[in-house]
Amino acid sequence: ELKVEQNPLFLSMQEGKNYTIYCNYSTTSDRLYWYRQDPGKSLESLFVLLSNGAVKQEGRLMASLDTKARLSTLHITAAVHDLSATYFCAVDASSGGGADGLTFGKGTHLIIQP
């Protein structure tokens, strides 16, 4: 059974600081996704990482994937209040024409304080 672990699960940080969220997964996969969820809202797609060594950046967020270590990171640079949300990583380990869906981590609840 595929397991996806995020840490930390809760993060409170000050504006202007840098921090990294980690996502470990337990089986071979080269398809990893990061989503953002605001309270009471749906999931917004942030990054799609489809190969070992993939790195993508959007504004103050940067995501990377190391398939050998089964690790993805989401790095926040010079945090601003608007980035406060819950961040999920999700892994697609479907193979052989089957569909196992996305397996999500428990999410990292991020609060950025002035």
């Binding site: 999931l43 799609v48 999700a90 024409g97 996305l102 397996t103 999500f104 981590g105």
Partner: protein
């Protein structure tokens, strides 16, 4: 361009009742997946449909069923509702199913009392 649309947005049902949730995917997308998100947790995979056929099923009881129509819209049915079925039900649309990016609808908030 319309995104993934789900209806209704909120629903209150009594234990033992049945419920049907609806989802329209992004135009041109042929795959729909359903997820259940309990408060404070990540979404859990329920079903994936592609070209009107079930391609995958998560670890949910037989009370949960779904189907996809020729226009690629989908319905999720839950019978004999339990209090534990209270959750946000999310529909995701993707072009081809697995290995293609999934875009989520706004969800249906189901409360079972």
């Amino acid at each position: 361009d319309a995104g993934v649309t789900q209806s209704p947005t909120h629903l209150i049902k009594t234990r033992g009742q049945q419920v049907t949730l609806r989802c329209s995917p992004i135009s041109g997308h042929k795959s729909v997946s359903w997820y259940q998100q309990v408060l404070g947790q990540g979404p859990q995979f329920i079903f994936q449909y592609y070209e009107k056929e079930e391609r995958g099923r998560g670890n949910f009881p037989d009370r949960f069923s779904a189907r996809q129509f020729p226009n690629y819209s989908s319905e999720l049915n839950v019978n004999a509702l339990l209090l534990g079925d209270s959750a946000l039900y999310l529909c995701a649309s993707s072009l081809l199913g697995s290995a293609t990016e999934a875009f989520f609808g706004q969800g249906t908030r189901l409360t079972v009392v």
